[in-house]
């Protein structure tokens, strides 16, 4: 009995020590997050209740002003549309590609590299390529001319096609990254599960449905959160493609933030940032739920 208690004591001690070790490793990162993200965000929340220069308390006036601001509504709506269109597309396409790539086969490495390559391309170079493709005398118009026989001078980037072009840019840029995340998830699934399933007569679709997807639930949450985060970064591409006032379909919250900063409307930026965080909470919660249920599964 004594022996058993001693063992438990030692195990508890070891667990405590490993927690401290983990804490030590996490501390610098945690400090960074606290110092450079959490504290500034608290300041942002504070500023959302103050005037532009932070001199006087204005209560909920900024929230009322931003909520009623047409530009904010339009930017928020477009941002939401972009999430709705781009994130699921990225999610599904990158998953499909990772499943393809995961199977051993000829040209797999080349395929993988070609998908990951856009990640390392500078945004400016990428935007330039897309502009060359879609400007009035660009390749796309020349291609259309070759097919239809009539001259095309459509400025695709500044017209109604701006939204699909931006979604395509986002997919092209991020698909490789998400694919790598899926691949990491796939490689963590024990091969024995597939072997057992095959012995039981399960085909490919059944393996996907009953093994792969349930086992990837943890990765799903991570990919979702990272895809949403990355979708905010699409402003860079949007700005480089179409300038600070693009076609209204791709006018998004970062555009508005950028303009508000130019006119020193920090109170509005802070308020909109709080709105944005509040709106992101469900996505974060859903992602967390997915990861948890993945772990429990």
């Amino acid at each position: 009995m004594k022996n058993c208690l001693g063992k438990m004591e030692r195990r508890r001690k070891r667990q405590g020590q490993s927690r401290i070790t983990a804490g030590c490793f996490l501390a610098p990162s945690l400090c960074g997050v606290l110092l450079f993200q959490a504290l500034p965000f608290l300041d942002v929340v504070r500023r959302s209740f103050l005037d532009a220069m932070g001199r006087s308390f204005v209560g909920m006036a900024n929230y009322a002003a931003v909520w009623g601001n047409e530009a904010f509504r339009m930017a928020a709506k477009n941002t939401l549309y972009f999430f709705a269109a781009a994130v699921p597309a990225l999610y599904l396409v990158s998953l499909a590609l990772s499943l393809l790539v995961y199977r051993p086969g000829a040209g797999q490495r080349l395929f993988k590299t070609s998908l990951v390559l856009p990640m390392v391309l500078p945004a400016a170079a990428m935007a330039l390529v897309w502009r060359i493709l879609f400007c009035p005398d660009g390749l796309w118009n020349q291609l259309l001319y070759a097919f239809t026989g009539k001259p095309w001078e459509q400025d695709w980037v500044h017209g109604k096609a701006a939204f699909p072009i931006l979604v395509s840019t986002y997919l092209w840029k991020n698909i490789g990254y998400d694919m790598l995340l899926w691949l990491a998830g796939l490689s963590a699934i024990p091969q024995s599960l597939y072997d057992a399933a095959r012995v039981d007569g399960a085909g490919e679709p059944a393996q996907l449905r009953y093994i792969t997807l349930p086992c990837l639930q943890g990765t799903m949450g991570l990919v979702l959160v990272l895809s949403v985060v990355n979708s905010f970064r699409v402003y860079r591409e949007a700005y480089l493609l179409a300038g600070s006032y693009p076609d209204l379909s791709i006018y998004m919250l970062p555009h508005l933030f950028s303009h508000w900063f130019l006119t020193l409307d920090i109170q509005k930026m802070s308020t909109a940032a709080v709105f944005l965080v509040l709106a992101s909470l469900p996505a974060w919660g859903f992602g967390r739920w997915l990861r948890r249920s993945g772990k429990e599964g």
Binding site: M53, N69, E70, Y245, L248
Partner: protein, 779 residues
């Protein structure tokens, strides 16, 4: 102690060290003035200045308890009596190191007559009496250009002959610069003589003579070495310069050092081969974008570079420039004078010679190191604008002289290419939000309305009330920028005026959009321009109708505006973008200005349009329009719809640590002393300064322009014409405060319609939706 414990201890130590480094790395350096001593790699760019884009720092190094001591101070040398209004010919050290000064009286035609020679002896100028009589040719009149000492120790002189024999001549002068010049002493005349069939020969801005007697002739884009017998040896490339009587570069026994597009380049004078190029000491800026620069050498092979930024030195073979004298602390930084010569003295001292505007009169300075003077004045005042401006620099230089205890730093947001981006404004905003930023803000191009609303700007009503009492300014401008409650947050220090010259009906047609659209004349109403310029020009001229109303730019007004522009464009051949051939044929360019006004008075002169519009930025810019009017006495000359363009908008940062000093600077900026100088950035708003400009006669000053077969010359306006321009300026009362973002939306949105690819309704709808969004952002 076991191994793992040692490892842990080492790890903890390293972590602690890294953490300390991180923290101290973020803190402010206590010796933050290193950059003032050494201009790293020559480029004092905005990013390198401490404290962000507006250069503001928390604490001045000089404010510390033990400020660094010692700096060069500028002492004015008295010019010889009776030559105060004369032209400076040459200033150098003679064979016995005595300072020699050559001056000449300016004749009515700009010729230099009655040259005089002075020697600096016993701390005063002593005239070499009768020198010019001894030297000048007996048989003809000449205008002196340059006297210099060759590296061979002999004196040389260059002159211009007038009349039929208008040519440049170079002579060797006898002992002590005293021998008579005649054909027997003339050097390489065949180089400067007009070529067969040509009226003019080579008139070099500068000539030098090497140790072996070889002659280096500077030209606009190169310097050519000739043997004494006139045989051309080789040419060395230099940066192109249009200056008629100065050229950047100097000759030594072994090298020719000059400015090239890549920086400062050394050439070997044996064969003209390039030895190497080093970057310039300073980013060029200001008046002549690097043309107003002076290079000279020391005895050790080092190079000195002097320009409006200061005096810098680099050792032979070195790559770092050392800042010897900051331009802001001396006349070097002043915009109303031109640097002509800079010399090294015997005792680590320097001499500088400057010409006053127009070449009438000059100033001489001695620069002496004073170890008792603090290296940097204890108080620092920063002036920040997005773009470099000569009036601001002039005000800073004069303010510096009046306040030696203050370090005035003029900064701008231009990058190396002279461009300003939105990121520059964002960086400035970051500072302003943190309660920092420059003390004085030049608000051109900045979101002034927003700054005003957010309380960034200080109320300057006291300053302008005092000015109005002591040194009054244009009432209509003052009123336009005074708020209803009497507050003044910004005020333009200069104004430019759109002026029209043309047939009476055409001039009257500019009154409104409708009259412009309805105009039918022999030629188009406005001269051909690309559509962006045309859109901007019409928007500028009809600013009141388009933007100044209570309702702003309505759908109906926008439609009429676009239709008017298209109507005018169809008549004058406007296009979105001209080809090279079209540019040649129609005398147009694709260059775009913010006002769209490129100056079309010569198009009117050639009957290419029924009126020409130009932007008057000073008396000089009125010369060509007045010359055109003199050719067409029936033409009407007037301002357009009482409009003016406010320039150099000054404001003071409310967070300034020295608001009183900042206000004093603004006062100085609007004072007669600063305002009376002309820098082609607008007319003064100070009434006394305008009167001075009106009285100022630059008798011999003339300009000319032409292309193809067309040419027009113009002389400095006479008193009557100057008064006429002054009267026109009194008529303006409506400031054009164009919103560049909105204008950009109109230009981009109208492109399709103007090219005929979209309907008017489509273009209007697209522009309106963007403008609505832009306006919604600001609510």
């Amino acid at each position: 102690m076991n191994n793992s414990k040692i490892k842990r201890l080492i790890s903890a130590g390293i972590a602690l060290f890294m953490a300390m480094n991180m923290v101290s790395g973020c803190s402010e350096s206590k010796s933050g003035s290193d950059w003032e001593e050494n201009v790293s790699n020559g480029n004092r760019t905005e990013q390198e200045k401490p404290g962000g884009p507006s250069g503001k720092r928390e604490r001045n190094a000089a404010e510390g308890e033990n400020p660094a001591m010692g700096r060069y101070v500028e002492k004015e040398m008295a010019v010889p009596e009776g030559v105060g209004e004369d032209s400076l010919v040459s200033f150098f050290r003679g064979p016995d190191e005595t300072l020699e000064l050559y001056t000449a009286r300016m004749g009515d035609k700009g010729d230099r007559e009655d040259a005089r020679r002075f020697l600096w002896k016993e701390e005063k100028w002593q005239e070499d009496e009768g020198w010019w009589e001894r030297v000048k040719p007996e048989d003809r009149d000449v205008s002196i250009r340059q006297v210099f000492l060759g590296l061979d120790g002999k004196y040389y002189m260059s002159v211009m002959t007038s009349g039929e024999d208008y040519a440049f001549h170079l002579y060797q002068v006898g002992e002590d610069a005293g021998g008579r010049i005649d054909s027997s002493t003339e050097l390489i005349p065949e180089v400067f003589a007009p070529k067969p069939g040509k009226r003019y020969g080579l008139i070099p801005p500068k000539v030098e003579v090497g140790t072996g007697g070889n002659i280096l002739v500077h030209d606009m884009g190169e310097a050519v070495m000739y043997r004494p017998d006139g045989i051309r040896m080789f040419a060395m490339e230099k940066a192109w310069s249009g200056m008629a009587e100065s050229s950047i570069g100097y000759l030594t026994a072994a090298e020719f050092v000059t400015r090239t597009d890549g920086g400062v380049t050394r050439y070997r004078i044996e064969d003209g081969k390039e030895i190497g190029t080093i970057p310039l000491a300073f980013e060029s800026g200001g008046r002549n974008k690097g043309e107003d620069m002076f290079l000279f050498g020391d005895e050790r092979g080092g190079i000195y570079l002097a320009d409006e930024n200061g005096l810098a030195h680099i050792n032979a073979g070195g790559s770092l420039w050392e800042l010897i004298l900051d331009g802001g602390f001396s006349t070097l930084g002043m915009q109303s004078v031109y640097l002509r010569e800079f010399l090294e003295g015997d005792d680590g001292d320097y001499y500088g010679a400057f010409s006053k505007n127009g070449g009438r009169g000059f100033l001489l300075f001695h620069y002496v190191y004073d170890p008792e003077m603090s290296a940097v004045p204890p108080v620092r005042l920063t002036v920040y604008g997005l773009e470099d401006n000569s009036t601001v620099r002039q005000a800073a230089a004069l303010f510096q002289q009046a306040h030696p205890e203050v370090w005035i730093e003029v900064l701008n947001g231009e990058d190396a290419q002279g461009n300003v981006s939105e990121d520059t404004i964002r960086a400035l905003n970051t500072e302003l939000l943190g309660g920092k930023g420059a003390d004085v803000l030049i608000l051109d191009g900045l979101p002034v309305k927003s700054y005003q609303e957010k309380g960034i700007l200080l109320d300057l009503r006291e300053v302008f009330a005092r000015l109005q009492k002591e040194d009054p300014m244009r009432e209509q401008v003052r009123k336009n920028f005074t708020e209803e409650d009497g507050a003044v947050y910004q005020m333009p220090a200069r104004i430019a005026v759109p002026m029209v010259i043309g047939e009476k009906p055409a001039v009257r047609a500019l009154q409104s959009l409708d009259s412009m659209a309805a105009y039918e004349g022999e030629a188009p109403l406005l001269a051909a321009a690309n559509y962006e310029n045309l859109l901007r020009e019409v928007a500028s001229l009809q600013y009141g109708e388009l933007f100044d109303g209570k309702e702003g730019l309505t759908e109906e007004t926008l439609s009429r505006y676009l239709k008017t522009v298209k109507g005018i464009g169809e008549k004058n051949g406007a296009k979105t973008m001209f080809t090279e051939e079209e540019m040649e044929q129609l005398r147009v360019s694709n260059y775009v200005t913010s006002t769209g006004i490129l100056g079309s008075e010569t198009q009117y002169d050639q009957a290419l349009s029924d009126c020409g519009v130009t932007e008057l930025k000073g008396m000089e810019s009125a010369m060509i329009p007045l010359a055109v009017r003199n050719k067409h006495p029936e033409a009407e000359l007037d301002v357009v719809n009482e409009l003016y363009f406010p320039k150099v908008m000054a404001g003071v940062n409310r967070a300034s640590e020295q608001p009183e000093l900042a206000k004093e600077f603004v006062y100085a900026l609007f004072s007669q002393e600063v305002q009376q100088e002309e820098f082609f950035d607008g007319f003064p708003v100070n009434l006394a300064a305008q009167e001075t400009i009106c009285v100022r006669d630059k008798g011999n000053y003339s300009v000319g322009m032409g292309y193809g077969d067309y040419h027009i010359g113009a002389e400095w306006p006479n008193r009557q014409e100057r008064e006429e321009i002054s009267r026109l300026l009194e008529k303006v009362s409506v400031p054009v405060l164009m919103d560049e973002t909105m204008m950009e939306m109109i230009v981009r949105g109208a492109e399709g319609y103007l090219e005929g690819k979209e309907t008017l309704e489509q273009a209007v709808a697209a522009i309106r939706s963007r403008i609505a969004l832009y306006q919604a952002e600001q609510k």
